[in-house]
C-alpha cells in the first residue's frame, strides 16, 4: 500500500529552525565514538579472548549447590582423581539466597557418558558427605552439535542480511535503494559487533542465546533504520529541493521521539529482566538480557548516528560525480 502524500497539507520549512537536530554536522563525533567502542572491544578481545559456550566447544560442566564450607581446589583434586581427567573448580554464591554453588569444569572437548557421571556423582557426594552436594545443572557436550548449530546460525544470519538488503534496495529505490541497503547493513554489523563485544567484556560465553540475541538485535536495528528511511522517502517527496543532509537531519528529528520512546520501552523491559535474573542468580537469563539491553541501545544509536550520516555521505559523493543523475533519482 502506498502513502497518499497529496492528502498531506503543504508544509513550510524553516531552514534554521530550532527543531532540526544537526546530526550530519556532528557525524565525525559519532563515528569516533563508535570506533572507540570497537577498539575497546578489540583490545578486550585480544586480552581475554572469546569464551565459547560449552555448546560450541564441547566439554563437560557440572554445577552443584552445597552447604557448609568447601575448598574449590580440594573439590577439583577429588574430581580429577575420580574421573581421571583434569577438572577445575570454582565457587560462587547467590546474592539473594546466599546459596553456595560449586562449578566443576571438566577439561577436554568431549562429554562424559551418563553412567560415568552417575559413578562420579556418587563418589563426589561420598567424599563431601557433610556438604550435602546437590546437582543443579549439568552439561555434557560433543562439539559436533554446537558446530552444526553454529553453521546453520551463520548461514541463516548471512542469508537474512542479504535478503534484507535486497528488500531495502527495492522498497527504497526512490532514495537510492542500494546505498540505503548497504548503510542499513553497516548499522547492523555495528550492532552485532557491539553485542559481541558486550559478551567479550562481560565474559559471557557465546552460545545459542548469543545467536538469538544477535538475531533480535538485527530485527530491531533493521526496523529502526527502516522507519527513518521511510521518513526520508516521504520527506523526499514533500521537499524535493532540500539538500540531502538537511533532508536526513529533518527526517531523523521528526522521528527521534519515536526512536527514543520505543528504545526506552525496550531497554527498560530487558534491563528489568536482567536485574531480576541477577538478583536470583540465573545465569542463562543474565547472559541473554545484558547483551540484549546494550544491543537495543546500540540499535537506536547506530540508526540515527551512523546509518543516516553515512547514507548522506554516499549520496553527496554521488552528487559530486553526477549531479544530474541524483536530481532525477
Amino acid at each position: 500500500m502506498s502513502r497518499d502524500n497529496q492528502s498531506n497539507a503543504p508544509v513550510a520549512l524553516t531552514p534554521s529552525g530550532s527543531g532540526i537536530l544537526h546530526f550530519f554536522n556532528k557525524r565525525f563525533i559519532f563515528f569516533s565514538i563508535s570506533i572507540l567502542i570497537m577498539i575497546a572491544g578489540l583490545i578486550n578481545l585480544a586480552i581475554s579472548g572469546v569464551q565459547l559456550d560449552i555448546q560450541f566447544k564441547g566439554g563437560a560442566l557440572l554445577k552443584y549447590t552445597y552447604t557448609g564450607d568447601l575448598n574449590a581446589d580440594d573439590a577439583a583434586d577429588v574430581a580429577t582423581e575420580i574421573l581421571g581427567r583434569p577438572v577445575s573448580a570454582q565457587i560462587t554464591e547467590d546474592l539473594a539466597s546466599k546459596e553456595k554453588r560449586l562449578i566443576l569444569n571438566i577439561a577436554g572437548n568431549y562429554g562424559v557418558d551418563a553412567s560415568e557421571q552417575v559413578n562420579f556423582d556418587n563418589a563426589l557426594k561420598e567424599k563431601f558427605a557433610d556438604n550435602k552436594l546437590n546437582l543443579s545443572e549439568s552439561q555434557m557436550v560433543e562439539p559436533f552439535f554446537g558446530r552444526k548449530f553454529l553453521t546453520n546460525g551463520i548461514i541463516a544470519i548471512a542469508l537474512s542480511f542479504s535478503l534484507v538488503m535486497v528488500y531495502v534496495w527495492i522498497r527504497f529505490s526512490k532514495i537510492g535503494g542500494l546505498s540505503a541497503g548497504v548503510m542499513a547493513l553497516v548499522a547492523l554489523l555495528h550492532d552485532v559487533l557491539v553485542v559481541f563485544f558486550t559478551c567479550v567484556i562481560f565474559k559471557i560465553p557465546i552460545g545459542d542465546s548469543f545467536v538469538a540475541v544477535t538475531l533480535s538485535i538485527i530485527g530491531y536495528s533493521v526496523n529502526d533504520t527502516i522507519v527513518i528511511y521511510d521518513r526520508i522517502r516521504e520527506n523526499h517527496d514533500l521537499h524535493p529541493k532540500l539538500p540531502v543532509e538537511t533532508l536526513t537531519d529533518l527526517s531523523i528529528s521528526q522521528s527521534i521521539t519515536r526512536s527514543l520512546n520505543t528504545n526506552i520501552a525496550v531497554f527498560l523491559s530487558v534491563s528489568l529482566v536482567f536485574i531480576m535474573a541477577k538478583a536470583n542468580s540465573i545465569d542463562s537469563i543474565q547472559s541473554f538480557a545484558l547483551p540484549m539491553a546494550i544491543g537495543a541501545v546500540s540499535g537506536c544509536y547506530s540508526t540515527i548516528c551512523i546509518a543516516g550520516p553515512l547514507w548522506v555521505m554516499w549520496q553527496k559523493r554521488k552528487e559530486k560525480k553526477d549531479p544530474k543523475k541524483l536530481a532525477n533519482a
Partner: protein
C-alpha cells in the same frame, strides 16, 4: 455517517476474552483451549533433561530401522518412568536419538544422571512362558515387521528368527501349543500371544483382530529393539534442576508483567487516547502470542522468549509510530478525525516495511535454523502476525471508534508532551 462507537467496546471485549483465555485457558465440557498454564517450556526455562544418544561400539552408522528400534526402547522406558511429556526425535543423518523432557511440576527427588543412564542401557528382549522361564532372547530375532494379510485384510507382525532362534522357537512352540508366549522388554510385558501350532520354520506371525498398521509397527519396532547390535551412550546431555528451572520461569514472568505495566503507564501518560489504545492492542498482541504458543503446544525456550521480546518491542514501536504521527498531524492543525486517518496512513508504510524485514529474518530461520533457533523464529513469525492484527488493525478500529465520542474529540487528548516542533 454511521456511529462507530460500539466498535471500541467490541475490540476491548475481544482483548479481555483473549487475555482471560491466555491467562487461564478455557474448558467447556470436552472443548478445551490451552492457555499459559499449559505452555510447554523448554528445559532451559523449566528445567529438565536433554540428551542425545548415539550407538556405542558400532563402526558404521546405524540404519534408520535400527534408530527407530532404539527410539522405541527409549519411548518404552520413558513410559515406565511415567514421563509422558517428552520429545524423542531421530537425527537420521547423524545417527542420534535426541530425548528432551521437562520436569513434572513438584518434581523434587529425581536423579537425572541416573535416568539418562538407564534410558541408554541395552534393552533385553525376552520371550517367556507363563511360568517366567526364558525361552529365547531378542538377539535371536533377525527381523520383525508389520505386514498386511491380503486375505483377511488385517495387519499382523511377522517374526523371522536366526538359526539358533529357529531351533529354540520350534522347541518352545511345540511344547506350548494352546498356551501363551509372553514378550518382555526388560521387565515390561509388551505382548502376549497364544501359540496355535508348532512352528519349525523360523518364520512366525503374530496376528490379532486389534492390530492397526501403527500398533503392528510399534510391536515390530519393540521386538527389533531387542536385536539391536549396539548399546546407547550419551556424550551429549544436559540437565537443569527443577528448582533452578522454575526460578527462571518465575523471574521471566514477574519481569514481563512489571515491564508490561510500566510500558502501559508510560504510553497512557505520554500519548493519552492513542496510548490507551496502544495498551489494549499490546494486550491483544501478547495474549495472541501466548495462545499461539500454548494451543499447538510449541515448546518455548529462552531464544523463543527473545523472539517474544523482539515482537513486543515491534508492537510497541508500531503503536508509538502511529501515536506520534497522529500527534504530529494534530499539531499541524488538522481535526482529530483527519489526523487519525492521515496518521495511520503515514505510519503504515514504516510499520509494514519494518515488519516485512523481520518477517524475512523469521522465514529464513525457520528454513535454516535448528533447535533453539526454531523457537525464536516461531515466536517472531506469530509476533509479526499479531502485530499486523493488533498494532495496525485493532488500533485503528479502536481509535476511530473512540474519536466518535464527543468527550474524546479534544485534540489535546491526541497530542503527546513532546515540545519539539520540527516544521
Amino acid at each position: 455517517m454511521k456511529s462507530k462507537k460500539p466498535v471500541f467496546f467490541i475490540v476491548l471485549l475481544v482483548a479481555l476474552l483473549m487475555a482471560y483465555t491466555a491467562a487461564f485457558g478455557v474448558e467447556i465440557g470436552s472443548f478445551k483451549i490451552k492457555g499459559a498454564p499449559d505452555i510447554r517450556f523448554g528445559i532451559d526455562i523449566r528445567g529438565g533433561v536433554d540428551a542425545a544418544f548415539q550407538a556405542a561400539n558400532l563402526d558404521r552408522k546405524p540404519t534408520p530401522n535400527e534408530l527407530e528400534a532404539a527410539r522405541t526402547i527409549i519411548e518404552t522406558r520413558l513410559d515406565n518412568k511415567n514421563i509422558l511429556d517428552r520429545d524423542v526425535t531421530i537425527d537420521k543423518d547423524n545417527g542420534y536419538i535426541i530425548v528432551r523432557f521437562p520436569w513434572k511440576s513438584g518434581e523434587k527427588n529425581f536423579d537425572p544422571a541416573d535416568a539418562i543412564a538407564e534410558l541408554g542401557e541395552t534393552a533385553l528382549l525376552t520371550f517367556k512362558d507363563d511360568a517366567g522361564n526364558v525361552l529365547l532372547e531378542g538377539s535371536h530375532v533377525s527381523n520383525s515387521a508389520p505386514q498386511l494379510n491380503r486375505q483377511t485384510n488385517k495387519y499382523s507382525v511377522s517374526l523371522t528368527f536366526d538359526e539358533k532362534g529357529t531351533q529354540l522357537f520350534a522347541k518352545a512352540t511345540k511344547e506350548l501349543i494352546g498356551k501363551n508366549i509372553n514378550i518382555y522388554m526388560d521387565d515390561t510385558l509388551i505382548q502376549t500371544a497364544v501359540v496355535n501350532e508348532a512352528i519349525p520354520s523360523g518364520k512366525a506371525e503374530i496376528s490379532g483382530n486389534n492390530f492397526t498398521y501403527d500398533t503392528a509397527k510399534e510391536l515390530a519396532d519393540k521386538i527389533n529393539s531387542g536385536s539391536l547390535p549396539f548399546s546407547l551412550i550419551t556424550k551429549n546431555h544436559s540437565t537443569i534442576s527443577p528448582t533452578l528451572g522454575s526460578g527462571a520461569l518465575d523471574v521471566m514472568l514477574d519481569a514481563g508483567l512489571i515491564a508490561f505495566a510500566i510500558i502501559c503507564v508510560l504510553l497512557i501518560i505520554y500519548y493519552r487516547v492513542p496510548g490507551t489504545v496502544a495498551c489494549i492492542s499490546l494486550l491483544i498482541q501478547t495474549t495472541g502470542q501466548i495462545l499461539a504458543l500454548s494451543i499447538p503446544q510449541m515448546t518455548l525456550t529462552l531464544p523463543g522468549i527473545a523472539g517474544v521480546i523482539l515482537s513486543i518491542g515491534m508492537g510497541v514501536d508500531a503503536n508509538v509510530i502511529i501515536s506520534e504521527r497522529i500527534s504530529e498531524e494534530i499539531k499541524s492543525g488538522k481535526t482529530v478525525r483527519s489526523a487519525i486517518s492521515s496518521g495511520f496512513k503515514g505510519a503504515f508504510s514504516s510499520v509494514f516495511d519494518g515488519n516485512i524485514t523481520v518477517l524475512i529474518v523469521g522465514v529464513i530461520l525457520m528454513i535454516f535454523g535448528s533447535g533453539a533457533l526454531l523457537s525464536f523464529a516461531y515466536s517472531l513469525l506469530t509476533g509479526i502476525f499479531f502485530n499486523f492484527v493488533a498494532g495496525v488493525t485493532a488500533s485503528r478500529l479502536m481509535i476511530r471508534s473512540l474519536s466518535d465520542f464527543d468527550a474524546l474529540r479534544k485534540p489535546s487528548l491526541y497530542t503527546c508532551f513532546s515540545k519539539r516542533r520540527t516544521l
